[in-house]
């Protein structure tokens, strides 16, 4: 089982908690996107007047006013309003009465306005200019936008899978923080801390339908549900902000463990009381891939890459390697013919153990099914993976599925080779 570090990597990476108590992280304090905790009774859609009324976001510990209308004025239909007065919270009842009448007028007038940073149909993004994220949908879903930065682009000009996973990690963290459940800075709620319990990720499934490119803005939604009797599942849905198209779906399974004894634990009643209200209990966003992941060894692997070592920037506050880095290492031994012509369509990972600064890892890959030689014909490829320490201790087992690059694009940006190199 993966230890705390995995949790910390997924739930709360570094730190801000103890240090920034002067800033925004006190439970229930006016940090960005917090108002939503109490909004469970808010009418779905509709004018969430009180539910999402928020204090102006705190950036760097000081209050920064937004120059865009607060979301409380915006309905699901994204009705615009005039340039935002800052004391509008007091004026809400007035606005709500007038809104219906002025809607059409404003829609027409909008085009005449000089304020370019205003886009009524996607106002939620402008509410959140720094991408801090906010709680939506009756307080159960956390939503955050990310614009893809140039350095997050991989060698094939699209956001790398690591970038996408980083975004998932960030939203998970912000969700926990935004829900006021950041007990110790490692994703443990206050009750869990009292009992020395931590969340540990055991399984992760990601399906990527299309990779965003530099300059795209993606919207990540995340929520939690129960998983079995004593587990928790966290799902993510990533959409393209502009088109609403679904880009990525991911689902992760977590178990509770005592951080000292390293034994699995049931979810205590007190903890259930804390997190239960946040369980959405929806179906998993990615259908569970229940196929067994085989353990590879030197004989069954087709490709092995040795001597993989963590760098300083791979480490979190505890000097454990951040989960997302494992994916990079897994791909280090993926065969070049596949990497060059295919893109990762889906990935299933089973986490076994964590590693730290001084670990030296090996990455093994076996290509299943048709094999490299038939890539051009079948199109799709599948690989099995193992990441382990030099002494054989397993870190992660995985399966990846690949589809030809540019299969989703209209252009003929590259040729799929008829046969492998």
């Amino acid at each position: 089982m993966v230890a705390a570090a995995a949790t910390s990597a997924f739930f709360v990476a570094a730190s801000s908690n103890p240090d920034s108590s002067t800033k925004t992280n006190k439970v229930g304090s006016g940090s960005a996107s917090l108002g939503g905790i109490k909004s469970k009774s808010a009418s779905p859609g509709g004018l969430q007047v009180k539910a999402n009324a928020q204090a102006p976001a705190k950036i760097n510990g000081t209050t920064v006013g937004y120059t865009t209308p607060m979301e409380s004025l915006i309905t699901e239909d994204d009705v615009p309003s005039s340039p935002p007065p800052r004391t509008f919270i007091n004026q809400l009842p007035d606005w709500s009465m007038l809104l219906a009448a002025i809607t059409t007028i404003f829609l027409a007038a909008e085009k005449q306005w000089m304020m370019l940073d205003w886009k009524p149909r996607r106002s939620d993004m402008l509410i959140d200019p720094f991408g801090i994220g906010r709680i939506v949908q009756d307080g159960l879903v956390f939503r955050q936008n990310f614009s893809i930065r140039s350095y997050e682009i991989g060698a094939d000009r699209t956001a790398s899978i690591e970038t996408l996973m980083n975004h998932l990690q960030e939203t998970a963290l912000n969700h926990v923080k935004g829900a006021g459940l950041l007990g110790d800075g490692f994703g443990s709620t206050p009750e869990m801390c009292k009992k020395n319990l931590i969340w540990v990720v055991t399984r992760m499934q990601v399906v990527v339908d299309r990779y965003p490119t530099w300059g795209d803005v993606v919207q990540v939604d995340t929520w939690v549900s129960g998983s079995g009797k004593n587990g928790m599942r966290r799902d993510w849905l990533v959409r393209d902000c502009k088109t609403g198209e679904i880009l990525t779906r991911a689902s992760s399974v977590w178990v509770m463990m005592n951080k000292f004894t390293r034994r699995l634990s049931k979810i205590p009643e007190e903890v259930r009381g804390e997190i239960g209200p946040y369980f959405m209990n929806s179906d998993p966003v990615v259908e569970e891939d229940s196929r067994k992941l085989p353990k590879l060894d030197d004989n069954t692997a087709d490709y092995v890459r040795r001597g993989l070592a963590p760098r300083w920037s791979d480490l979190d506050v505890n000097q454990h390697v951040n989960n997302v880095k494992y994916i990079g290492w897994i791909l280090e031994s993926a065969p070049l013919p596949i990497l060059e012509t295919h893109e990762l369509a889906s990935m299933t990972l089973e986490y076994r153990r964590e590693c730290g600064r001084d670990s030296v890892l090996q990455s093994l890959t076996a290509v299943s099914g048709a094999g490299i030689g038939n890539l051009g014909n079948s199109g799709r490829a599948e690989c099995q993976h193992l990441l382990r320490l030099e002494d054989g201790a397993e870190i992660v087992r995985g399966r990846t599925e690949w589809r030809p690059k540019y299969a989703n694009n209209f252009g003929t940006l590259g040729q799929i080779p008829a046969e492998s190199a």
Partner: protein, 357 residues
């Protein structure tokens, strides 16, 4: 392919006149360039018509300054960009500098293929390569802090151009860092350096401040310091470092920021535990390819200039006078190819004791 049009920045038509002859790329997406669509046009009434603007442009938190000569953008620090010190890593800072540089180039109409080249440069197969990078950080931002970075460029002598940055904490406007970089022109095919011709210079100079503006205006500042090659044998080393796929940029080269990580790899653990990086200067000499292995070597640098460093620290008004010599230390670095020992780059770092938290 390229269409001429006027386009508006997020803050209004202030520079629409300047933009009259701007070439804005509207090519469809192809291998080399990302399509850069028209954001908005000025209609006859002088109003803004919202065009089919690139989505990120409209949400972009960055924009050209009123005089069009510099570019500012805000970034929020994400959790995975924070390192063992609970603050943004120097690689994160370097990435953001690179990002804002790219966005600046894009906003003035240079290519978006990652090379930031002018039209003439592309015709002649010329690209910019980094010669030196110097970053000073006075206060590292933490998770969810917002950093505002301003950048501009100007020409540097006959063969180069310089890009400077100033980093500020957005919440209080305090300067938290400065950086400068020097670039030279290289022929993409022959990989040989080339002088900046007047055509090229004129193409980009229009976007540069006319008066000399330096992030490091003070005399004898450490961005100008010559870096000596460290002696053999090195006190600390980490050998056989391997580029990862994530180190490759969109043009399949090891990106500049990866070198910073490698330089720090051979830093001794006890300094990493007690100090934080204040300054890093890197001279880039040779490129590293995907399949190369790299050795990272570090030596302490003789400590004659503690006072100078303390002086530079004074930006926050809390200089520690000369302080204890242990509070500050400096190191020399060398990255070389494991294979034949040829120098990839050399560097210099200054470290200060971590602030109490």
């Amino acid at each position: 392919m390229a269409a001429q049009c006027r386009f508006m920045g997020p803050h209004g038509p202030f520079y629409s006149r300047r933009r009259k002859n701007a070439v804005v790329f509207t090519t469809p997406v192809d291998n080399k360039q990302r399509g850069f669509q028209v954001k908005a046009v000025l209609s006859e009434q002088g109003r803004v018509e919202l065009g089919t603007g690139n989505w990120a442009d409209r949400l972009r938190l960055g924009s050209l300054a009123d005089d069009g000569l510099s570019y500012k953008e805000k970034f929020i620090v994400r959790c995975y960009e924070v390192g063992i010190n609970k603050t943004a890593t120097v690689e994160t800072i370097a990435n953001l500098l690179q990002e804002v540089g790219c966005n600046h180039a894009q906003s003035v109409g240079f290519s978006t293929d990652g090379f930031a080249t002018t039209t003439t440069m592309r015709k002649l197969h010329l690209i910019w390569v980094t010669a030196r990078m110097h970053i000073e950080i006075y206060k590292y931002p933490a998770w969810s802090d917002v950093v505002e970075i301003e950048t501009w460029c100007q020409s540097e002598g006959k063969i180069g151009t310089r890009r400077d940055w100033i980093l500020k904490d957005y919440s209080n406007g305090q300067v938290i860092g400065r950086a400068t970089s020097k670039w030279v022109m290289m022929n993409q095919d022959t990989r040989r350096l080339q002088k900046v011709s007047d055509d090229v210079r004129n193409e980009y100079l229009v976007f540069c401040p006319k008066k000399l503006r330096l992030a490091f205006p003070e005399d004898n500042n450490s961005s100008l310091k010559k870096i000596s090659k460290l002696g053999d044998p090195a006190q600390y080393s980490r050998l056989g470092l391997m580029p990862r796929r994530a180190d490759l940029d969109m043009n399949q080269h090891v990106n500049n920021v990866a070198y910073i990580g490698w330089v720090l790899e051979s830093m001794p653990q006890d300094i990493i535990d007690t100090h934080e990086l204040q300054t890093i200067t890197l001279d880039y000499r040779r490129e590293c390819q995907r399949d190369d292995l790299v050795d990272s070597l570090t030596n302490t640098e003789p400590n004659e200039e503690t006072e100078v460093i303390s002086g530079l620290q004074g930006t926050n008004g809390s200089a520690t006078a000369t302080g204890d010599k242990q509070d500050y230390c400096q190191f020399l670095h060398l990255l070389r190819l494991s294979g034949d020992g040829s120098e990839i780059n050399r560097g210099r770092t200054e470290w200060r004791k971590k602030p109490a938290r």
